[in-house]
């Protein structure tokens, strides 16, 4: 463990990211909402804190090792999650507590989108933009952004990159140089955001709303500038635009990259994960829409279709926008949707959950076990597309799956111990661990009503979910800290 090197990089990253407090200040100035002081204060606090961390060790320039990478990433997400709550706390809106401010900030940066603030519509513009911006930064990954803008991270950048990138196979680079890969990812991300923003704007949102929502849509976050989320706009066009961009953002960005480079859509068609992703969402949509029709939840068929589709995509990709009160939908639908959020987005996307590719591998592995019962001597490869996956990857996926469920089970128990009922506890864990956002029961609308210990547990769940569990878990193993 090279603690001084880690401290240096951490200080540097915190200094760089203090600049993310500048756009809200600018927004505050434009809208004259009189709420910029908390941001100015928070800006200087983080900048100076970063500088104080960096200054004593600025000479320690060494390559990051594998272990250092884990620590830097976890520390950075934690520190940024906590300091991100600073301007929210300082703003003093609705007498917000420290716990709530940090919960809101971590929920933002992990792109969960669970909120504890009720009365969002009345917040100052600067704070509204800040919440959305947190989601946007967390979506593609703050480390990926850091690697793109700080070339001096060099090879060490790869160690960081890996600890943050979602998906089972982390060694695939779009371009040979890590900085170029990170840049390519952010360009695609930026492009999607701009396109989304324009589409919302043209569909009738105000520019501020369009920008804010494009941030949280492309990041698969789910924060909105209104209590009623996307439902506020009461526009089918906007719902439809949201569906398209949520779908696009839930796809592996490497596919977008290949498609743009080759100027053809072939890469999507050939990708097994992408096809499974669409298949799962289509099947669930059909079931949902059918059941909504059967139970006459909505007055017209058209409404069932658009509301069903929107909610399936929003929850299936782990975005968490709402237009209807899905948590009060009839029968098994709310729980089905939560289950779908466990599958989540594709690897290398901004979505949360277990990731489609892992689920696909688990299913194929299950099928292989069945085949082995019939043909005990058969050599069967688990293939994704036409490529056989190595046993190492499959083992890692099983390990991930087991850890994911062990942790959710443990957290549900802990939440119930703090006094939450079973439905609320289960859905809150699912919503946070999958970086989804809205849950069921007491956390259907927002997370304001649950107790403080439960919020801290859920903060941990959100970080675990965003960093795909192992990056965080590895830090509590004794082996990690041994020299």
């Amino acid at each position: 463990m090279q603690l001084l090197v880690i401290q240096r990089i951490l200080g540097l990253l915190i200094m760089v990211f203090s600049s993310t407090l500048l756009p809200p200040i600018a927004t505050g100035l434009i809208y004259q909402d009189g709420a910029i002081m908390p941001f100015v204060e928070a800006f200087f606090v983080t900048l100076i804190a970063g500088f104080l961390l960096y200054l004593p060790v600025h000479g320690h320039k060494k390559e990051l090792r594998l272990r250092d990478g884990f620590l830097v990433v976890v520390l950075f997400w934690t520190v940024l999650g906590v300091t991100g709550g600073l301007p929210i706390y300082l703003s003093g809106i609705y007498d917000i507590s420290v716990t709530d401010a940090i919960f809101e900030s971590i929920s933002g940066i992990t792109t969960t989108g669970a909120t504890v603030i009720v009365g969002i519509d009345d917040l100052p513009h600067s704070l509204l933009l800040y919440r959305q911006e947190l989601q946007w930064l967390g979506g593609m990954g703050i480390i990926v952004l850091a690697v793109a803008v700080l070339p001096m991270l060099g090879v060490g950048g790869m160690q960081l990159f890996r600890a943050e990138t979602p998906g089972p196979v982390k060694d695939t680079k779009l371009t040979p140089r890590i900085t170029e890969t990170a840049k390519a990812l952010w360009y695609i991300y930026l492009g999607l955001t701009i396109a989304c923003c324009l589409a919302y704007w043209l569909a009738g949102m105000s520019f501020f709303d369009a920008l804010s929502h494009s941030f949280s849509t492309v990041a698969i976050g789910g924060f909105s500038t209104h209590d009623a989320s996307i439902g506020f706009f009461e526009s089918t066009t906007i719902q439809f635009i949201a569906i398209v961009f949520m779908l696009l953002s839930g796809v592996n960005f490497a596919l977008h990259f290949t498609a743009i480079r080759n100027r053809s859509l072939g890469s999507y068609r050939r990708d097994a994960e992408f096809r499974t992703y669409l298949l799962v969402l289509s099947i669930v949509s059909v079931i949902t829409i059918g059941y909504l029709q059967l139970t006459h939840t909505f007055d017209s068929t058209a409404e069932s279709i658009i509301e069903g589709l929107f909610q399936v995509v929003s929850i299936g990709t782990t975005t968490g926008f709402t237009t209807a009160e899905y948590y009060s939908w009839p029968g098994f639908l709310p729980v089905l949707l939560l289950y779908v959020s466990f599958i989540g987005g594709c690897s290398g996307s901004t979505g949360g959950g277990i990731k489609v590719i892992r689920v696909l591998l688990l299913v194929k592995q299950g099928v292989r076990e069945l085949q082995r019962l019939v043909h005990p001597n058969a050599q069967i490869a688990v293939k994704i597309g036409k490529k056989a996956m190595s046993e190492k990857v499959i083992e890692a996926v099983w390990g991930f799956f087991a850890a994911y469920f062990a942790i959710s089970a443990l957290m549900i128990l802990l939440l119930m111990a703090t006094g939450l009922d079973q439905e609320t506890a289960f859905s809150a864990v699912a919503a946070c661990l999958n970086n989804l956002g809205p849950g069921l029961g007491d956390v259907g609308r927002n997370f304001a009503s649950i107790n403080d210990p439960a919020k801290w547990i859920l903060c941990l769940a959100m970080l675990l979910g965003r960093l795909e569990i192992f990056t965080l878990l590895v830090l509590i193993t004794p082996a990690f800290w041994k020299k």
């Binding site: 594998l66 060099g154 090879v155 950048g157 790869m158 160690q159 060694d171 680079k173 371009t175 040979p176 140089r177 890590i178 170029e180 190595s390």
Partner: protein, 458 residues
Amino acid sequence: MNIIILGAGQVGSTVATELSREESNELTVIDINQQILSDLQDRLDLRTICGNGSYPGLLDDAGADDADMIIALTNSDEINMIACQVASSLFHTPTKIARIRSPEYLRRPGLFAEDSIPVDYIISPESLVTEYIYHLIEHPSALQVLDFADGRAQLVAVKAFHDGLMVGRALRTMSEVVPGVDMRVAAIFREGESILPSADCVIEDGDEVFLFAAREHIPTVISEMRKLEKPNKRIMLAGGGNIGGQLAAMMEKDFQVKVIEAYPARARELAATLDSTIVLLGDAANPDLLLEENIESMDVFCALTNDDEANILSSMLAKRMGAKKVMSLINRAAYVDLVESGLIDIAISPHQVTIGALLAHIRRGDVVAVHALRRGSAEAIEAIAHGDRGSSRVVGRAIEDIKLPDGARISVIVRGEKVLMAHHDTVIESEDHVILFLTNKKKIAAVEKLFQVGITYF
């Protein structure tokens, strides 16, 4: 530059390490062993792809369409050639370099051409290493002998010894000590540190001195630093692989050569192809065999197997049993430092030998050779000057007027058959081979740039 490297073996990894240091290079490494690739990716900022590098689909994945260069360095000559063919036919890759080991392919020069097998540069590590060792055996007192301008000028590294003519004297007196021999001291290393060879610099016992001279003057030059050793006569090679076999074939006319080979089939093959060499079947680390074959009267014992540890141990054994000088082929850089402190006289690092030749092709400007000295702490570069005073930054100028990067010195100029030592007023002409000595590796790019010809030349 966008470069694809095939094969992540010893040569491939070294090349990748070397090239990835330069910011402007984008590297993609292809190999069939995922484990090696993962290790490489952990260490270096490059992309890796697992698979057979000569397959068109895989080359496509590696971005062969945009690649500026493909370097095929796998163990198989055939894969390397096919990969170059595929890159040329399907992807129009501008520069193709292939490692060709087997001398059989190298005998017919017409084979590698644009319309047959499109390989622009052939690199043969075994031949390079063989040649390198041959030079060392030829000049018994030298630590390193490097060729420039097709061998017309040479660079020798000599360890100064108190019986040398120049030892204890300042460099300025050199022309008085040996009149008529033109040479140039390029660098002096004292206890591992580089010293600037100024005119007042006094050579001490134990210094490692790098000297440039015309080929015919090399023995005289060496004698200035130490009393010339008796010419080598009896040579024993441990390991009759590619290098051992080629070396034996080269030397058997002038030396008495014995080769020890452990595999019966290879030993039979060697015996069939070599004439006066004695091929011995057995283990080079077997003291009885060494004793039997008069190890104590051997001038040089050379361990040339693939196995670093076996080479080191058999060399140590030979040294203890009385071989006058032992050399060992050592692949791992860490071992080289370890053993050169005394156990083994000369450690030969095949990578250092190969990489120089390879890097020369990658350099821009007309750079013909880049040799790493003292395991990369300094480099000797040979570049050809083109153009005229208007288009080139070196031609038509006296050496003192050329803006050289820090730590670079022009040492020698080879003009046609003549080898000239550079003086401050020597004027460089077009087509001169200029040999520079560089103590700071980072400045290579600046040297390349110096020798690039302006657009007006074409």
